[in-house]
Symmetry: C2
Subunit: 751 residues, 2 copies
Amino acid sequence: MKRIFDVRPWHVTTTDWNPANKRLQESMTSLGNGNLGMRGFFEEQYTGDTLPGIYLGGVWFPDKTRVGWWKNGYPKYFGKVINAINFMATDIKINGESVDLAHDQISDFKLDLDMQQSVLTRTVTVHKNDATVQLVFERFISAAQKELVVQRITANNIGDTAATIEIASAVDANVVNEDANYDETFWNVLTTNADQQQATVVAITKENNFGTPRFTVGTQATVKTDLDAVQHEQTDTKAVNDFKGQLAAGAHTVFEKRTIIVTSRDYASQAELEQQMVKLSQQVAQESYDQLFAAHRNVWAARWEKSDVQINGDDAAQQGIRFNLFQLFSTYYGEDSRLNIGPKGFTGEKYGGATYWDTEAFAVPVYLGITDPSVTRNLLMYRYQQLDGAFHNAREQGLKGALYPMVTFDGIESHNEWEITFEEIHRNGDIAFAIYNYTRYTGDESYVLNEGSRVLTEMSRFWADRVHFSKRNHKYMIHGVTGPDEYENNVDNNWYTNYLAQWTLKYTLATVAKVTPAVAAKLQVTEQEKQQWQDIVDRMYLPEDKELGIFVQHDGFLDKDIEPVSSIPADELPINQHWSWDKILRSPYIKQGDVLQGVWDFIDDFTPEQKKRNFDFYEPLTVHESSLSAAIHSVLAADLKYEKQAVEMYERTSRLDLDNYNNDTDDGLHITSMTGGWLAIVQGFAGMRVRDGQLHFAPFLPQKWDSYQFRQLFRGRIIKVKVDQNGTQISLLSGEPLTIDLAGDQVKLTK
Amino acid sequence: MKRIFDVRPWHVTTTDWNPANKRLQESMTSLGNGNLGMRGFFEEQYTGDTLPGIYLGGVWFPDKTRVGWWKNGYPKYFGKVINAINFMATDIKINGESVDLAHDQISDFKLDLDMQQSVLTRTVTVHKNDATVQLVFERFISAAQKELVVQRITANNIGDTAATIEIASAVDANVVNEDANYDETFWNVLTTNADQQQATVVAITKENNFGTPRFTVGTQATVKTDLDAVQHEQTDTKAVNDFKGQLAAGAHTVFEKRTIIVTSRDYASQAELEQQMVKLSQQVAQESYDQLFAAHRNVWAARWEKSDVQINGDDAAQQGIRFNLFQLFSTYYGEDSRLNIGPKGFTGEKYGGATYWDTEAFAVPVYLGITDPSVTRNLLMYRYQQLDGAFHNAREQGLKGALYPMVTFDGIESHNEWEITFEEIHRNGDIAFAIYNYTRYTGDESYVLNEGSRVLTEMSRFWADRVHFSKRNHKYMIHGVTGPDEYENNVDNNWYTNYLAQWTLKYTLATVAKVTPAVAAKLQVTEQEKQQWQDIVDRMYLPEDKELGIFVQHDGFLDKDIEPVSSIPADELPINQHWSWDKILRSPYIKQGDVLQGVWDFIDDFTPEQKKRNFDFYEPLTVHESSLSAAIHSVLAADLKYEKQAVEMYERTSRLDLDNYNNDTDDGLHITSMTGGWLAIVQGFAGMRVRDGQLHFAPFLPQKWDSYQFRQLFRGRIIKVKVDQNGTQISLLSGEPLTIDLAGDQVKLTK
């Protein structure tokens, strides 16, 4: 655990400047608006180790798949997020010498991320060439205008003598990707242009060998300053505006920069793209910094209005959940159904910025609770729109129907480990479950009975082809899979996968029975198919151990040498850093819940005894070496009244990055794991469930907390749930009256 | 099937010149002497597609392991064979223009590999620039002098007018590897030197990042010719001698080149290496071509004396078995215990030229029968000398004892697929079995009771740590393995692996009980270890199906959808070229014998009924997509009196490359599969077994053959076995009288 920021309810703040923590700091102070995002890198020159990453949603490059030994069926390309044109770059000179915190003598450093307003502020006093200048950097990525990033730099001459200040502001296409097969760059510059107050670069992603679209990006920065414009120039790869001025002792100067970034995702032609870029630049130039900021802040205020969680008596826990929701919203707020939630969002390059099953399994339940249904619906639409890719993936494996990818930008699989790419197919059930989850929570059947029925039908066609009938067991089986526990590969009859496949077929049959004749005509599900699906539902093999009273993770699991995690010597943890892969595989240790993932998904389908037996058996074998693991164990522990364990797991998930638990936050934040804190509090501590269209709660208060409260959207209402030592108060903040179930009592909420 | 050479008993010959078959032709006309070898590429300039490969035994480069996703425990480097300094290169000009068969008008082409004498001859008439010149190229790699390669080029002016002939002969370090991560080269040249008749290049393999030794190679070519020396030059990378002469109509000229190749494997310092190179060059310069050739041919004659197999009535079969033995002997004849038998020998770069378990499983039984015991003993010594590497490999997996590598040059694992590297551990039993096989066949216990006991003990320590005790089954199990059937990965309780592990422990216990006190003191096997090993032997789990009467390939195998290979549509075969990897894995189809590999190894341990049931069950599921598969199935079919099937399998294995069955012989020959023909004839058709120190035979004659005969070494004797329609004649060619078992009768052989 490494905590480099102060614990404050709405802020992530530090006054400590340590270059060794630079990348970690950058990850943690990332900003985003769903459309684009950036790490909290310094805008001015910095010669130390840094990852100045800016990433644009949906702008990516298909790089050649790199493997040791090729396997039939491997995808040809691996999609990767590419670092965008750097429009933040500035070179600040004091008395002729560039500010560079890797070397400068400084004082009064303060870095502050305001999560309520989504603004990053940095203050630092630089002592340089006989001058003492305080610099204040502010930046926000507008939540009100998706193409807009605003910067403000204030220089206060707090020394005794006058000082010269120069600011060279650039838009620079010469950027480096950390994630590259070789040291190649990914941008071809189309035009660069600089005039007195503007710098523009239009670039296109370089040609690729896979026929996927290239992306054109226009980036135009407009500067406002009372410094004198001394020079402007454009080179092959960048456009620069130079300003200079003399600052008397005690005087200050303000430098503002508004950058508009437009992409060919939104505009058909380069001409139109450039036209819009210019138009938007002109619009934002007419508004003051304060006006632009107010519009941005108001959007965030509305988000928090629906979603804020307050914890009294535990500031670390309070900061944790706010940081979680802040980073989720920065990554995705449902404005664009072509975008999704990458495991690292816009905060790093690992996992290629692509879409994983994390979205459906972990993010959907959270967004359902705290955003309008349209936000989640767009996540469902994303998959519908990528159905062609899913057909392609199934075809590559010689199978019918649709197989959604493990990793993708465009629907086509782009991961290349056979045991994952080909085998971690439970994703095709998680995506089905998300449709059900949305429908159950919102009561809105319009998706499932239209687009959703198509997605379900094609996934069911896949499952029906992927199972095989074992003649000797008279059962359908699924061989050769990897479950959520990726510390087992290529197993037979993973309970979770088999259960989900069976459930998907059942849900599809029920859905198909309800669609309109027009939709049915499109689906073309034959009677024979329905019979086959029903037969699979009826005769699916689900490994169980009657004696232990548990579902068995997969066929061979109970033959292992089963000893609890507590028997592993401490210096061998985490096992993924200490054990050879084969040892991990044949061990009984579970990376993240597998059977328990299923018990969580279908928590109301099992008896308390079943839940308890499975939790008591599997949790002690679980090493929680996936950032997604703790949350569902917290919810299940709460369900079983294991309150201490539930709270421990909450702490682990909600402050995973703030405390750098996994020692890898310098690479970027664990965005999809940001869902864990909310799940633990709302589903766990408050026991929130939706049963037959009704909200249920059964809250408890963690011992060390004084109280907690959260807001929740449900079918047109916003309700507030407050839990303290006196019990639970649930109030209706907006919307029609609603009857809920509180620990078994029917409670009618009115305003 | 593609047959590009004529069927002749002792020759591989063609008069057909087709550039499309160039690489295939090169593979098939490879030569070698165990120490070095080369493909049958043209020595003169050739601008078409070609792989001019020369490879030196034990000279390799550790290249950075290339993977998609790193797994803990992966080896850091992948060893690869590197193409040696090209000393064959010549540029032949006729009337000023280079001969280049990619473009020239030619006639009377003939390419002939004489397998009896191991010499490659090519004749071609070139019509060029008003001249008609017949060129005759001869080459052999001396079996008598391991550092020597001899070339002779004869130019006959068969045209009507005089012609100018120029021959530029080079030693050239600027060679390309097909197997390279990038397009890098692997040689740093130390010196080049040319004088009137000699060209010398001394080079060292480039630096590597893994601390493995670099190799220095000295290559010195000495030319004899009656052409005029016109020029000699050395550049940074090569040394060239130029000769020229006028050839009257009807006249001819002879150009001879003797190249000596010495390596730092044999000489400690560069100075000594160069000294020896010069000394050897001087020695061979004093002998005539005929003298050098006679010495070489005599070695080959002695080899054939002990090993020749004659088949009457089926020339294709005859050519097949001779080609098999010829290529095996070219690759390995036991002179150097630091060398081994790469799957492609010196004939290509695939599989990196490294050592696999093929050696112990397939080559050892053949070499035992047809070479002096010392040849096989050196294969055993190879593993003993690499014990440190095997310790390293086990340690990397967190396990005790020694794990021999899947792929290696130096004993250290250099393969990088987790399902193979970490899991195909049956190799650690195959190596034990080879020790037993040697001892059983030769009666020589000196290896097993000394070096062998060390190897066995350390492998048993590995097995004892690698098994786990399943509390619920009260059995020892081995989870997470890949058997010989690589179309299954990461399975539990592969019968073959479990059986071999159990057998290895048993054999080690028996061996340890027999060693001298001095050896025992070195082994330090404790009583506790012995008890543990015995307990594992007693309680090893061996999956069986009583109802089917078969051993079960692994735990889940019988749950599959089991349909015979004959049910696969023809256009989907071979499945490894048509099916996605996951489909192959969950199919019941077997790449090469797995349970049947064990039945073959321990053929006398099973009842006829057991053998029949297992063969009848598994063979129909076997796709034989490994070149190693057909031979053992031929032997087992013969054992079961399935004569037709035995002969079919013989044909498939013995002419695999001659008929390019797998359509990949252009990459190089399947050297370790060259063992299959002999196994099929001797173990299969002739039913040869060694039981309690006695040779047994139970021959049958394939229907379409008139007769077959083979020679066999056994405990100081050479015997000849002849089988024809009248029965079997066994005669003693040399050595003391011997009693053998012929189909149940004791027969005493005397000279």
